[in-house]
Symmetry: C2
């Protein structure tokens, strides 16, 4: 029998508890051993809830219990999650977490501690909720040199952009609806500014290359400036506006970014709408593979945590190797990053066409029926060259990169 | 160092050879050990080809070489692949294969032999080419009770149906084009009649429930009867015709089938076009997850084989457990299987409407502008009830199930 302690009985933690109880027999069969929740740590009380009999308010009950071999961390936040996880790993316990902030900030250190103790530090649920991506990236795609990863990594923003497109509504009103439906948090900053997606693409990129990406170095742009006009233009161009986290191998360096992009139907991410997430991985041998599913949600995310618990359980005493060292992965500076740009400028075509051509060279004009502005798509150029050209033509209303 | 023998230097076998050489350094790093091809068995000679130095015409060279720990079987066909694989496993060697016929026919027996020798029998490449599906189904989704699997499992037929829709062309002419492009074989029977997809859904279903599905028991219908009119009707209904392999849990039994179906845009398989494959899995906790990629192709398929080789290599002496026993999985008989049906009958609406309503009850008529026939969609009914109703109304031109 494997004994589990759960840190935090919130949405995901209670989901883990429910799955370990609800699919108990099936899990025991497949894991080859019974998996039992011995302690759940939470500061709150849950009178009448089945968790009551195993509830504790004291972390020491889990840390010092030699019978607890696996600890699930679903508290969220950096502190005290970091201290608790580190303490458990140092006791030789394996830890499975859904906490992307913890993994993005302290991944290599915690992986190393686990390795030194022949324990596991696993975090399938930290990216893509229930979508299997961490383990496939580490095992199924291990023969491949990963050329590119791009993903719709945040369900809240994908939902907002999908609704804006389908209902012709503006950002603020869709955000309010999303908050009412529970798809967006009261403080939506981490989602709408791209911070959540940034940590996720940092984790995926670190795993793909085995070296550490500091997520602070990844250029991150949210969706708060996207308007209904941007979406109308994208529609006119046959595309959709999506916010993607992406990383791309460029020689020995990697170019990474989180930003709204216009994508076309030939990209499998094009049809990923609503709260769904998907991650597209391009390998030098396997070509494009995509993983799709619910990027959040209590039971979906908890299912990913439980799959880690089962994996850790099968590898008690040896640990599951994770290839992600503290060595720094070199990122391409933003100004060298290249793409095509969709650009909107105030003023008519006649007022702008000439100076745009002087600054950007040949561009494709896009007419979505707004006579008070001039919109166009550039050829491929670096961010630095784009900024320089913009200086020459004057302020733009908005720009969106093209995927 | 791990020594590998490859049985068969055809498309996939030479791809495995190329990847093990081309990504050699990266593979050694990730596998923690060098992986080297010691023998390649093929009856042909390859003068001037890099394989020449390790080529053998005699299976015994591999079977009796104690240094060969892993054998790759990429010969295809049942015999002598079965005898060779069995002999290698009995020697305690692990075997990785891309041969779906072998796996569908002899899976449980070969898995058991491997288990008895603490070796591995792995077959990621047998379904979905380079798409990671077998391992995610066995590990990432292991906390879940699998409720449903449905997949576009054959690239040739998906290409044909996509071209028929996009070009308004008929089956025969698209098949000829596909053959010219190398997307369809000279004898396309196994693809267009659904036999290939049938073996694949049998493998996935066996793995999902740990018991053996006899693929002969799965009702299988190909796409040879699909015409441009069927596709025009599907279009009119807002759907697409796809050939899907599917299985669904119904109490303690499973309902499985390979057949053309009409699917709508709310199904993630809807946007899987051309030669791409995708597998949608519904778990009781994780909800819908989908795996998408190239279902065939030399390097994509070979990449999946090499991922198995690396996995087998990490588990020398213990073997990778695969949950699929010889115990028979009970399938729901076809006549009890339920769906909605799209049905086309010769004759006008006036000639048919009354008798159709008498036989099928309320139906939705579909008008795609063909005045010489009457088409409609039934409510959900069993195959037996459908057959009975058809007896009452007379022969139909075609029917397609609705997903």
């Amino acid at each position: 029998m494997i004994n589990v302690g759960i840190l935090g009985y919130g949405t995901v933690g209670s989901g883990v508890f429910d799955i370990l109880r609800g699919n108990e027999k099936l899990i025991a069969e497949r894991a080859g051993e019974e998996i039992s929740v011995k302690h759940v740590l939470d500061l709150r009380d849950f009178p009448g809830n089945p968790v009551e009999s195993v509830l504790t308010h004291d972390f020491k009950d889990i840390e010092t219990d030699g019978e607890v071999q696996i600890v699930v961390e679903t508290m969220g936040g950096l502190h005290p999650a970091y201290e608790f996880v580190k303490a458990c790993l140092e006791q030789g316990k394996s830890v499975c977490t859904s906490n992307k902030a913890l993994v993005a900030d302290f991944g290599p250190e915690l992986i190393q501690i686990a390795k030194d103790r022949n324990a596991s530090f696993l975090f399938e649920a930290s990216v893509g909720g229930g979508i299997p991506i961490i383990r496939p990236l580490q095992s199924s795609l291990s023969p491949d040199d990963i050329l590119e990863i791009s993903g719709i990594l945040n369900g809240t923003t994908n939902y907002i952009l999908t609704e804006m497109r389908e209902k012709g509504a503006d950002f603020d009103s869709v955000l309010k609806d999303a908050q009412a439906l529970g798809y967006a948090e009261a403080d939506p900053t981490a989602d709408v500014e791209g911070h959540d997606a940034c940590r996720k693409i940092a984790i995926l990129t670190s795993l793909a290359y085995g070296k550490n990406v500091d997520f602070h170095e990844i250029y991150t742009e949210g969706i708060t400036k996207i308007t209904d006009r941007d979406i109308a233009y994208a529609d006119k161009m046959g595309g959709k506006v999506k916010i993607c986290g992406s990383s791309k191998k460029v020689g020995e360096r990697v170019s990474a970014m989180v930003a709204p992009v216009i994508i076309y139907p030939d990209n499998p991410l094009y049809s990923v709408d609503g709260v769904f997430n998907a991650i597209l991985v391009k390998g030098n041998m396997v070509g494009d593979v995509m993983f799709y599913g619910q990027g959040a949600g209590k039971l979906a995310t908890a299912s990913a945590v439980v799959s880690d618990v089962m994996e850790a359980g099968k590898n008690i005493g040896t640990g599951v190797p994770v290839q992600w060292t503290a060595e720094r992965l070199s990122l391409v500076p933003l100004k060298e990053s290249k793409s095509r740009f969709f650009v909107r400028m105030a003023g008519t075509k006649d007022e702008n066409e000439g100076k745009v051509q002087d600054a950007f060279g040949e561009v494709e004009a896009v007419d979505a029926g707004f006579s008070d502005e001039y919109a166009f798509v550039t050829g491929e150029m670096s961010e630095a060259a784009y900024e320089e050209a913009v200086q020459a033509v004057g302020a733009v209303i908005n720009k969106i990169r093209i995927s």
